[in-house]
């Protein structure tokens, strides 16, 4: 059930130059959260910034703990980074259509940069449901690969890629993934990351006839499906373009439903 509540900051950890892990106490949201869903976070005491900021659910624990992981991009996330433990933050969620969660299958999770955020949560739930998880994770360099310890502690098969080769494979994470597609015969693929990476992922999945899901981003206002501000272009089976809300119809979409050429 969708909630609008004040969550207490348990801790805020700086993981990188401008990346923060935020642990919140928000039992009602943590319990309901599904991988791929997001929370809509009020990042201000005033009206500047005005709108909430959507952030993916990075993890949700049994003790009512909800974890977010974000990069400081502008005013909203800068505000968030200033909040310390004990402070309250208004969040609304869990929101959106998450990833399909199969049982006892072999899954490929492909994360580009901050796209790792919702995929870690997916990996955890997928493992709990008896799936085998190959986790492909790419970033610019090794400094920008976050949460490696947490991922390693999970039972995923971890594959790393960096643009500069400072960790794992040198090159795009989708290129790395491509090599494993034939031999690993996945049942389903999932991706989150920059749009060009998602398009490459969708193309590879399509060629391999692999059911695949991607998590998209658009600027949002209400996060509730009311304002129609956050649309993305989809295509129906006959290739006709139409607009769908990312906040309610997504953020996770079937890769084949996305209208990639815009």
């Amino acid at each position: 059930m969708l909630q609008d509540l004040e969550a207490e900051v348990l801790a805020s950890h700086q993981l990188g130059q401008d990346v923060y892990l935020l642990r919140l106490h928000a039992p009602l949201i943590a319990e309901a959260a599904q991988p791929g869903q997001f929370v809509h976070v009020r990042c201000s005491e005033t009206f500047d910034p005005l709108l909430r900021r959507p952030l993916s659910i990075h993890d949700a624990g049994n003790e009512g703990e909800l974890t977010l992981l974000y990069q400081v991009k502008g005013r909203g996330t800068a505000w968030l980074a200033r909040q310390q433990s004990g402070q309250k933050i208004n969040i609304l969620g869990p929101r959106g259509r998450g990833f399909t969660l199969p049982q006892n299958k072999r899954l490929a999770l492909v994360a580009g940069g901050m796209g790792m955020v919702p995929l870690l949560f997916l990996a955890r739930r997928a493992l709990e449901a008896g799936n085998e998880v190959d986790f492909f994770y790419g970033a610019r360099d090794r400094e920008q690969l976050y949460q490696l310890e947490t991922l390693k502690a999970m039972q995923v098969n971890l594959f790393l890629a960096t643009d500069d080769g400072s960790a794992g494979f040198q090159g795009p994470v989708t290129k790395l993934w491509e090599k494993y597609i034939p031999e690993r015969s996945y049942d389903r693929g999932y991706a989150c990351g920059p749009r060009p990476a998602l398009a490459a992922f969708a193309c590879l999945a399509g060629r391999a006839s692999l059911p695949a899901e991607v998590s998209l981003e658009e600027r949002m206002a209400c996060g509730l499906g009311a304002c129609r501000g956050c649309v993305t272009a989809l295509q129906d089976p006959s290739g006709n373009k139409y607009y769908e809300n990312v906040c309610t119809g997504g953020p996770v979409f079937d890769a084949v439903a996305v209208y990639w050429e815009d």
């Binding site: 059930m1 969708l2 609008d4 009020r42 009206f47 500047d48 910034p49 005005l50 709108l51 909430r52 208004n90 609304l92 658009e218 600027r219 949002m220 206002a221 209400c222 509730l224 499906g225 009311a226 304002c227 129609r228 501000g229 956050c230 649309v231 993305t232 272009a233 139409y242 607009y243 815009d262």
Partner: protein
């Protein structure tokens, strides 16, 4: 209605062109979807009225994304009137909305006066609609794309045609992007508008300097939110003095204090838009805040505030 042992309850009800609203606070068209989106957060029956997203005769796909950009204390949007069209509204949205008690106000827009006429006629046959709100902030495709609401004669003509095709009360919603909004207001009043709503969004733009492109795919968008409140309040004050019909004021109302400013300026009711996008409970908080304010001030009736500004 004095309650035993309690302070006398204040009256929040107001009348607008024959409709009785239990309180003067309603959503602004386009920010409240078709109501259902907010049902998990607030009791829709507490609102002064329900106002739905503007509907058009045919389904409207809307503008390409990105449709939103944040300014400072303001939201720039170019949704482009995306809506499922009249038929789907009647079939799929109206039955749900009818379950609620507050008067249902349906916002309409057309590309020609004929489309306004047909929308008015068809909606008047449906059950459960209390009033029409005529959104005239859209281009008239037959007049070279000039926005209906920017020319007094065109605004009057749309109003008159809608009036001809409906028995429902007609509210006309004005655009602020004009030299003298009182001229437009008087023109639609003379043409039969039973109430006037204002303001719609201000035209604005933002640029993504990295990509050197407009931040909105549509280039121009409508600015709403706290940034525009002073402009909205001034327009409402001027129009309320220029016309006899009631005024529904809006533009940047975020709190009960803001709503009270609009009532003092002469609005009989107010609408809340962007605030709801930020906080789904904004409208109900504003209603509660208004009631508190009246109680604190020892006022028995919200109508004592309307136009009570001292000059």
């Amino acid at each position: 209605m004095e309650q035993a042992g309690k302070r006398p309850r204040v009256n929040l009800a107001v009348e607008i062109t024959g409709l009785t609203l239990q309180n003067p606070v309603m959503p602004a068209s386009g920010t409240f979807g078709f109501g259902e989106e907010y049902a998990p957060f607030i009791d829709l029956n507490r609102l002064g009225a329900l106002v739905v997203k503007t509907i058009t005769l045919h389904p409207t796909p809307g503008n390409p994304p990105p449709r939103l950009m944040e300014g400072h204390c303001g939201l720039l949007n170019s949704v482009g009137l995306q809506n499922p069209g009249l038929e789907i509204f009647l079939r799929e949205k109206l039955p749900y909305l009818r379950r609620y008690t507050p008067p249902l106000i349906v916002s309409i827009a057309g590309r020609t006066t004929e489309e306004y006429a047909e929308l008015a006629a068809r909606l008047s046959e449906a059950e459960g609609i209390a009033a029409l709100e005529v959104n005239i902030s859209c281009p008239n495709v037959k007049e070279g794309g000039i926005v209906f609401g920017t020319v007094p004669a065109m605004a009057a003509r749309v109003t008159a045609i809608v009036k001809e095709h409906t028995h429902l009360p007609v509210i006309v919603k004005l655009t602020p992007n004009v030299t003298d909004i009182t001229t437009i207001a008087r023109a639609v009043e003379d043409a039969g508008a039973g109430a006037i709503a204002l303001i719609n969004t201000l035209q604005g733009m933002a640029i993504d300097i990295e990509r050197r492109r407009p931040a909105l795919a549509n280039i121009v968008g409508g600015l709403s939110g706290p940034a525009i409140k002073p402009v909205a309040l001034y327009a409402v004050w001027r129009v309320a003095r220029a016309v006899k019909v009631p005024v529904i004021g809006m533009g940047g109302i975020m709190t009960a204090r803001d709503a009270i400013e609009f009532l003092l300026a002469g609005a009989t009711a107010v609408a809340v838009g962007t605030a709801t996008l930020v906080d789904p409970g904004a409208i109900t908080k504003i209603i509660a805040g208004l009631e508190n304010y009246l109680t604190e001030q020892g006022l028995a009736d919200v109508r004592e505030l309307i136009g009570a500004l001292q000059i």
